[in-house]
Structures are given as structure tokens and as C-alpha cells.
Symmetry: C2
Subunit: 207 residues, 2 copies
DNA sequence: GTCTATACTACGATAGAC
DNA sequence: GTCTATCGTAGTATAGAC
């Protein structure tokens, strides 16, 4: 039951924000009484933070295999580092394109605009692993970049995947599709791969 | 007074969403009575839509000169098209990095996750001009791409600027800065330019 | 542990004074 | 055009039955 309460909470908080979501509605949609939120989580804020923790856990689990693989190649030779980054980015893009990510991505994006204690938990619990792994790989793939440039590059690479969620409504409009079917998703991922490859390939030094 | 009401509304709706924001708080922060919202906008929903319209107008005005320049170069030769795109992207990045964009960007990002009638107004009133101009320029810069590829490329290029707002909290963490000063912003824009340039340069065909 | 009942606060809308 | 006053509704929290 507490599991269902968490899933419903992520959905409602993501859609309406902390203030906009109502504990009555969350409890009702979870098939229980509102007072069970008080019993299990101590109140609305406790439920909100528990929802953030649950997202962090799911995220870590979802990217777990890819992240483990990426960490193994943290000291890999350059071409292998590039390929590892492409794999990681494709995993992130696949998540962002999946309908399953809609509820928790909404929650995270909302927290990004106005971070609270919940963002701290999201970042330390799951996001930091991803970003720091990505930065390490970028440094491996592009040893010519300094620390800032490598971090900025990581942000923009990560941003390719993020855009597919954060700008979803615009993506639909620009492509002219009301839904993104498997074929479209695959073509978007292909394009993302091409972009990343070009960004990760060191510039030829002109004579 | 109705101007102040709109600005406050954008801020409150952006932060708390439609449900979470309260007309009492908006009116109070604007130095007027709640009933003036009913008088001027017919109610909470009317104020929300008026806020979206106001954002669309501001956005159009803000990017106006750059967009006008971009449209002039819609049929420009390739190198010029690339340079025009870089200019447009830099303008968008500068907006996204500016503290002034925080309130309305929050509003738009929220609408992107769960579009309502307000997104329709934002898109048709301002965003479509930007995206369609960008798509036309990308086709000019990369005639080797088909329609879908050009649109996907436009989305990801646009995404570079979007990421600076939508993932702002993560940007702070990854870079290790609590605020983005002028120097950091300039280096981020420089990096964005490098990425865009690489993406817009046609691949050499390997023998 | 899960429910119902209730206390208290804040919401949006509206009527009416000025 | 802007204010105050008020109505009905819905919010969170809490107490207490079972």
C-alpha cells in the first residue's frame, strides 16, 4: 500500500507541485484514507520527500547496468570511452522517451526550477553518479578539454536527452507528430548519437 | 496595475502551478485586492491565459531583432546560414542564462510537461516563429539532411539553450558554482557555439 | 494499521459600498 | 475601478473508534 501511495504521490506532486497536489486526492487515488499518509510519512512533506527518495532509487536501478559498464571504462582508451558515452546517452534518451519516465521526470524538472530538500536527495541519491561518470568519460574522450570545458560538454550532452522530456510539447510541434512512436524514437536516438559523436571527436588542428 | 498583476501572476503560476498559486497571494503581492482579478481578467483562469499571452509577447519582442535578421538570411549561402544559426542560438542561450528569464521560463517549462490552452498561445504566439526559422536555417546549412533530420537537429540545437534553464540546478552542481557569473556564462556560450558549429558542419564523406 | 469524524485554515467567486 | 464582507468549498492535521 505504501508503494502505491508513493507512485500516486510522484504523479500528483509532479503534475500539480507540492502546494497544488492534495493529500486527499493522493490517498483516494491510492485506495486508502488520507490519514494513512500521516501514519506512514508523518504528513504531506514527509510523503513528498519519500517520493523523491523513491525516484532516486528507481533511477539508480534503471541506469544501474549502463552506469556499471560506464565506470568500468572510466580509464579506457579513447575510442572505447566515446563508445561508452554513446551507450550511456542512448540509455538516458531511451528513458526520457519512454512513457514510464513521464511522472518522475516531471517531478525532477519541477525541482530543478526551484530546488528544495527533495532535489538534494535526488541529486545525491542518483543524479550525481550519472553526471560525474559522464564527466570522467568526457575527459577521457577529449583530453584536450580543460575541466570546465569537459563539464560544460557533459552538461550539453546530457541536455540532448533532457530536451526530449523538458521540451516535449515543442518536440511534438516541431516534428508534427502528436505521439512519438518507436520509429520516431529510434530516429531521434540516431540523430542524438550523431551529434554526440561529432562533439566528442577532437577537432583536427588546422595546419 | 494590470501590468503588475501579470508579472506577479507569471511568477506565482510558474512557481506553484495553476492550482498551487492563489489569487489572494497574487493580488496581495501586486498591491491590490483579489476582486480586481475578477474585474480585469474574469477570474483565475483568465489571468493564467493573460499571463501566457504576456510571456509570448515579451519573448517575441526579446528575440525580435535576432529573428528578423535570421529570416533575412533564410535563403543565404551555407556559411552565412551557419553563422546566423550561431547568432540565434547565442541569443537564446543569453536569454536562458539571464536571471530575467527565470520566471517566464518556469512557466513555459511547466506548460511543456502538461500542455494546456496556455501552451497553444505560447507556441503560436512566439515559439513557432523561432523553431520554424531555425529549421529553415538548418536545412540551408545542412542540405544533406532530410526533413526529419533537420527538425531533430533543430530540436537538439534548441535544447542546448533549453538545458541551461530546464536543468539549471544540475548545471550548478556539475560546474560546482552556486551562481553563474558573467565569466561562466560567457564560457558556457562559447562551448555551446563550438558544439553547434560541429553539428552544423557537414560530415566529410570517407572515401 | 486503517478507518470516520471533526477542527481549523485558506481557497475562488461574488455582492455591494464608495 | 477598487475596496471590504461573506458564502460555499476544499485543504491539512488530528483525535479516536475498531
Amino acid at each position: 500500500m505504501t508503494q502505491q501511495l508513493l507512485l500516486t504521490a510522484i504523479d500528483h506532486f509532479g503534475k500539480s507541485g507540492f502546494d497544488g497536489a492534495s493529500t486527499r486526492a493522493i490517498a483516494s487515488a491510492s485506495g486508502t484514507a488520507m490519514s494513512s499518509i500521516t501514519y506512514h510519512y508523518g504528513g504531506k512533506k514527509g510523503l513528498y520527500l519519500a517520493a523523491a527518495d523513491h525516484i532516486a532509487e528507481s533511477l539508480s536501478e534503471g541506469l544501474g547496468p549502463i552506469l556499471a559498464n560506464a565506470r568500468e571504462h572510466a580509464a579506457a582508451p579513447r575510442n572505447q570511452a566515446v563508445e561508452t558515452i554513446l551507450l550511456l546517452l542512448d540509455g538516458m534518451a531511451t528513458m526520457m522517451l519512454s512513457p514510464a519516465s513521464e511522472p518522475w521526470a516531471r517531478f525532477i524538472i519541477r525541482e530543478q526550477q526551484q530546488p528544495t530538500e527533495a532535489f538534494e536527495r535526488l541529486y545525491l541519491g542518483a543524479m550525481r553518479d550519472v553526471t560525474e561518470t559522464l564527466v570522467a568519460l568526457v575527459k577521457r574522450a577529449r583530453p584536450d578539454l580543460d575541466d570546465f570545458e569537459a563539464r560544460a560538454t557533459s552538461i550539453f550532452l546530457h541536455g540532448h536527452a533532457l530536451t526530449l522530456r523538458a521540451g516535449r510539447a515543442a518536440v511534438h510541434r516541431v516534428l508534427g507528430y502528436e505521439t512519438l512512436d518507436d520509429d520516431v524514437c529510434q530516429r531521434l536516438r540516431k540523430r542524438l548519437r550523431v551529434h554526440a559523436l561529432r562533439i566528442l571527436t577532437e577537432e583536427e588542428v588546422p595546419s
